[in-house]
Symmetry: C2
Subunit: 113 residues, 2 copies
DNA sequence: TGATTAAATAAGCATTTACTTATATAATGT
DNA sequence: ACATTATATAAGTAAATGCTTATTTAATCA
């Protein structure tokens, strides 16, 4: 009974997270490969704190893992998330997203900034 | 180029729409069958204007069609929407949603209120 | 015509969201 | 030790969101 609420509500929260252009784009990029924070701030016309706050939400929800290395922080989809398996299904349903994300990823230098 | 922005942004808007428990549930219900407005107000613990406002957003986005018959208004997924094909893929990715929605739909009398 | 009914709209309100600028933290390099 | 760098946090703000209650619209029925 409570389960009924929980599953739908949790999924609604996932969609709310993805319901922002920046976070959806970040998620689609991470669906291809691990990304550095600096890649997001570089590719998007967006301030560094704004990117940081979006990533905080993704991490808090458990969708994203971080790995620190020197100056840099790398983000990737969290394979342990209960939503991990949904992500490709959801992302790949977006028309033409593959091409769009490829363009964005190639704009980023590829890692360290 | 502009296309790049548009597709992702539009999809983010779709997810934003689905990123609300009530609208996600309504959408999942309509993914099974046409529903009467009164079914939503009845099944959800929610006022009639609240339901009406959620449906307005779904209609404005083009995801949902309405059909009027006497007192009642019936809603269904709009087959002409560019997102129509995404809906089953997205909805069916939700764990256990089939069972949850079946319970909800059986709680509604099945149509006219 | 007048009452009833389903649904939409209007107006108001508290909360959330997505940003901004300024500052802090923590690792690296000199 | 000190400067530099990537990132996080804090505080503030304008706009959006999701509700509420009150009212209106439009169809049906007596």
């Amino acid at each position: 009974m409570e389960q009924i609420k929980t599953d739908i509500e949790e999924t609604a929260n996932l969609f709310k997270l993805l319901g922002d252009r920046s976070r959806l784009t970040m998620t689609a990029m991470m669906n291809v490969r691990e990304c550095c924070v600096c890649e997001f701030t570089e590719c998007f016309g967006m301030s560094q704190p704004a990117v940081s706050q979006h990533l905080k939400k993704l991490k808090y929800f458990g969708l994203v893992n971080e790995r620190k290395d020197g100056y840099w922080t790398y983000l990737s989809l969290n394979k342990e998330s209960e939503f991990y398996n949904m992500i490709p299904a959801v992302i790949d349903a977006v028309p033409d997203i593959k091409e769009e994300i490829d363009v964005l990823l190639s704009k980023c230098k590829g890692g360290a900034c």
